[in-house]
């Protein structure tokens, strides 16, 4: 039986997390079908069909999927998913929201946030904020899985030519309604897909200083900006900047932690970065235990100096 990937998209195009999830699905050794549920989502369906390794695309075009409400999306996935051995979606805020509903309605366990696949019923997933890795085995008929995107390479976005099949939606539950959203606007790369991340902590002292010190450095490095929970709680930056156990999990080529002491919960979100740089005045800060390069000193002097030194 094939594996079903529920695509994350913005109706026009596919989000990068979908590509990583297709790679995970392909490891199961079965043909991969991608479901695109959206509103006027022709563009996203075409983009899904172009992903290398995808055998079929199902397109459910209905106003009920405009905002990816969990109640509506889960009802559709349950209807479609019964013919598949595995149902996978990225462990993003959308996937984490609807997928457990799917599992409950199918009466199967969900395997959350997998980071490795041993075989088609055995998976690795982090527990205790990544301080331990559990290998779990599922005997359920359908395996419902969310995938940690940083643990799987992105599938090629082009080269595929899968047929697109239009399917009916499953209606509007009428239980929930979208009211509005406040999304952070930024010209910078997305945090979870950035090659370089400049991240700040509470030691920056204020939202103004955070902006003043980190933005010029991020500009020079074409980096995304992240933050520790403490910096978000203090109101320096919005919630979607948070990197950590309960925020975003990132694994860029270069992660520069500025004024971040390195609480376990923060390390859980960034310790798979290829190269980690820490700048902190406390030489004993736990962040130095995982940093490749540590610089001890006053960040208010060192960060502008670093910005200047980078050509």
């Amino acid at each position: 039986m094939p594996a079903l990937v529920i695509a994350e998209h913005d109706h026009k195009t596919i989000k990068p997390a979908t590509l990583n999830t297709v790679t995970a699905a392909a490891k199961l050794g079965q043909p991969v079908t991608v479901l695109v549920a959206g509103t006027n989502c022709e563009g996203a369906a075409k983009a899904a069909a172009a992903i290398a390794g995808v055998a079929e695309v199902l397109q459910a075009d209905d106003a009920a999927y405009e905002h990816f409400l969990a109640e509506n999306l889960a009802a559709l996935v349950v209807k479609v998913g019964k013919g598949y051995s595995h149902i996978l979606t990225p462990a993003t805020s959308i996937g984490k929201n609807f997928m457990p509903r799917v599992a409950a309605l199918l009466d199967v366990a969900q395997i959350s946030d997998i980071i490795g696949i041993d075989n088609d019923y055995t998976f690795q997933r982090p527990i205790y904020a990544g301080n331990a890795i559990a290998t779990v085995m599922s005997e359920d008929k359908i395996k419902v899985i969310t995938v940690r995107m940083t643990s799987f390479d992105a599938a090629k976005a082009t080269g595929g030519n899968a047929p697109i099949k239009k399917i009916d939606g499953a209606g509007d539950s009428g239980l929930s309604k979208f009211v509005g959203q406040e999304l952070s606007k930024s010209e910078r790369p997305e945090l979870t897909a950035a090659r370089v991340i400049v991240s700040g902590g509470r030691a920056l002292g204020s939202g103004e200083e955070f902006k003043k010190l980190l933005e010029p450095l991020a500009d020079k490095l074409h980096a995304a900006i992240g933050a520790s929970r403490a910096a978000v709680d203090a109101g320096y930056v919005p919630n979607d900047y948070q990197v950590g156990q309960t925020g975003k999990v990132v694994a860029p080529d270069l992660y520069i932690a500025i004024g971040i002491s390195g609480a376990i919960q923060h390390l859980a979100g960034m310790k798979d970065s290829k190269v980690i740089v820490a700048i902190n005045k406390d030489a004993e800060a736990p962040i130095f235990q995982i940093a490749d390069y540590g610089l001890v000193g006053d960040l208010f002097t060192l960060v502008p100096e670093l910005t200047k030194a980078i050509a």
Partner: protein, 249 residues
């Protein structure tokens, strides 16, 4: 309005956990246990709604061994009125817990269920969504603000791009994110008062649901260790290393 708040007893968030030598799990002997931090936020939110006269009763519920009574007492010290304890020593997983909570919700008939978005031990982030599905109720996950209205609740949610607001029909399930509120410290008089509040014990068999775990844990290991690197003396050395050694800039 009546609010049901499911809570879980977990290893305290400050404890550095250790993997057992036989790889069967995490060392739990003599480890400090606490209420799951997200569940504490859920209790606080429910109690605040009671203090604003939006809610009349707050009921805490848990599943687990006898020692979970402590967790229920913590919830009642914050302000929950009474508690329900499904007493079991068996391993529990989200689907089974959601099924048990469904039965309890059907009996208690709350207008809102508020619970943590995830437990900091298994990091599953499933139970609230599963419970909402089994009850066929709407869900407001990762909530950072709640505004109950008449027959509905508005919930601001923390999503990957920022914040999103939904309106849900009641009854509904809400799961809490970090910034919904800052839980109070329970005062000594309230801790004393909580000792006298009632806890109803229920045997799992009485619920008539299948609590058996669906996933088998084969082994639990430590993650690959990242070795500490070096300290560099100045910015010039750092830039040189990043360029010529790590080759990332």
């Amino acid at each position: 309005m009546k609010i049901l708040v499911p809570v879980k007893r977990v290893v305290d968030f400050n404890v550095k956990v250790r993997v057992k030598a036989d790889q069967s799990g995490i060392e739990l002997a003599n480890v400090k246990m606490s209420i799951n931090p997200f569940d504490e936020i859920a209790v606080e939110e429910a109690v605040r709604l009671k203090e604003k006269n939006v809610a009349q009763e707050v009921v805490a519920v848990t599943l687990g061994p006898q020692a979970c009574t402590d967790t229920l007492r913590t919830a009642m010290a914050i302000g929950a009125d009474r508690a329900i304890h499904v007493v079991t020593d068996s391993e529990l997983q989200p689907l089974g817990v959601a099924k048990a909570l469904q039965k309890i919700a059907e009996k208690e008939k709350p207008d809102l269920i508020i619970m943590g978005k995830q437990a900091i031990d298994d990091d599953c982030n499933q139970t609230g969504q599963m419970l909402a599905a089994l009850l066929n109720w709407p869900q407001g996950t990762f909530a950072s603000k709640l505004e109950p209205g008449s027959g509905t609740v508005k919930v601001a949610r923390e999503v990957d791009g920022g914040l999103e607001t939904l309106e849900l029909k009641l009854p509904a399930v809400i799961t809490t994110d970090l910034r919904l509120n800052e839980p109070r410290y329970a005062s000594l008089p309230n801790i004393m008062k909580a000792k006298k509040k009632p806890i109803e014990s229920i045997a799992p068999d009485a619920l008539g649901v299948d609590l058996r775990p669906r996933l088998k844990t084969q082994k639990v290991v430590e993650p690959p260790k990242r070795k500490a690197g070096i300290k560099v003396p100045d910015v010039a050395t750092l830039v040189d290393k990043l360029k010529n050694e790590a080759k990332v800039i």
